[in-house]
């Protein structure tokens, strides 16, 4: 049984590691094209940015992610900017940013470099924590 427990632990660890590695790879790829990405051409310089990918049919976006971002903006005001992208209207942008589900949020630092990616709903606390670590 101990052997199977170890195998299960390894499978879970590999799964988690693969997920984290995929997210890191996404961030690295996005970082490569971010400086000349048209999506970021209008963002305010020296301000951390949240890039929020959504779709019109995404229930968690409407019920959880959108309110979390509204609260974030209410609390942080000008200290953060949020760029909303409808992935159905801009599928090329979603592909370029490695987005395969909604909601997906990217946290960009003051220099416009992507530092975090959240696949699925990211709470206000989580976003604040990520922004605070920049």
């Amino acid at each position: 049984m101990l052997e199977r427990l170890l195998v299960a632990a390894v499978i879970v660890a590999v799964g988690v590691a693969a997920y984290c590695a995929y997210n890191r790879l996404t961030l690295r790829q996005v970082a490569r094209h971010a400086p000349r990405d048209p999506l970021l051409s209008n963002i305010q310089a020296n301000t951390p940015t949240v890039i929020y990918f959504t779709t019109p049919f995404c229930d968690p976006c409407r019920t959880q992610q959108q309110p979390a971002l509204k609260q974030l903006q209410a609390e942080l005001g000008d200290q953060v900017q949020v760029v909303k992208v409808d992935a159905t209207e801009a599928p090329d942008v979603a592909d370029r940013w490695g987005v395969f589900s909604a909601p997906t949020t990217f946290i960009l630092d003051r220099n416009g470099s992507p530092r975090y990616v959240n696949r699925g709903v990211a709470s206000t606390e989580r976003l604040k924590e990520q922004l605070g670590s920049l």
Partner: protein
């Protein structure tokens, strides 16, 4: 949102409880080398899909976790059908896994069971419901029976 949609609600805490039980029991089944537990989870999922009112893991949530304040209700405007479909797909995969165990192909059975664990974990931890995406894709393709469109604001 239409009036009809306004009355459609799903308690996502119940869904998360369901996913947590599925993940926990399937990993326990692997550790204990108990294919019967996989068949049990398959049966619970398929019965819960066909008769949601007698869904076992949901009942644990409703009659134990919720009254004891271990899990708080998280009721949202949502369609229950895609979630039931996702559960049904998971139950079907676990049924195939059980048949594989019975046929002596335990390796394939465990791969299928771990696949269900992965998809349930993706839903529980990242909020990505692959079965729901399948349901809405089939709806957009006009497949018979997939009548519910995503609820919009």
């Amino acid at each position: 949102m239409t009036d009809a949609n306004a009355t459609r609600r799903v308690d996502h805490s119940a869904l998360r409880t369901n996913q947590a039980f599925i993940i926990g029991l399937l990993i326990a089944a692997f550790v204990l080398n108990a294919p019967a537990l996989v068949a049990f989870v398959a049966a619970v999922m398929l019965i819960g899909t066909a008769l949601p009112s007698v869904a076992l893991f949901k009942a644990v949530y409703l009659y134990a976790l919720k009254p004891l304040n271990i899990a708080r209700p998280d009721v949202r405007h949502d369609n229950p059908e895609p979630h039931l479909f996702a559960q049904g797909v998971g139950g079907a995969v676990l049924t195939v896994a059980s048949l594989m165990f019975a046929a002596g192909a335990a390796g394939i059975g465990w791969v299928l069971a771990w696949g269900v664990v992965a998809l349930a974990a993706l839903n529980l931890f990242a909020g990505i419901c692959v079965g729901c995406l399948m349901y809405y894709t089939l709806h957009r393709l006009g497949v018979l029976g997939f009548t519910r469109a995503p609820i919009q604001q």
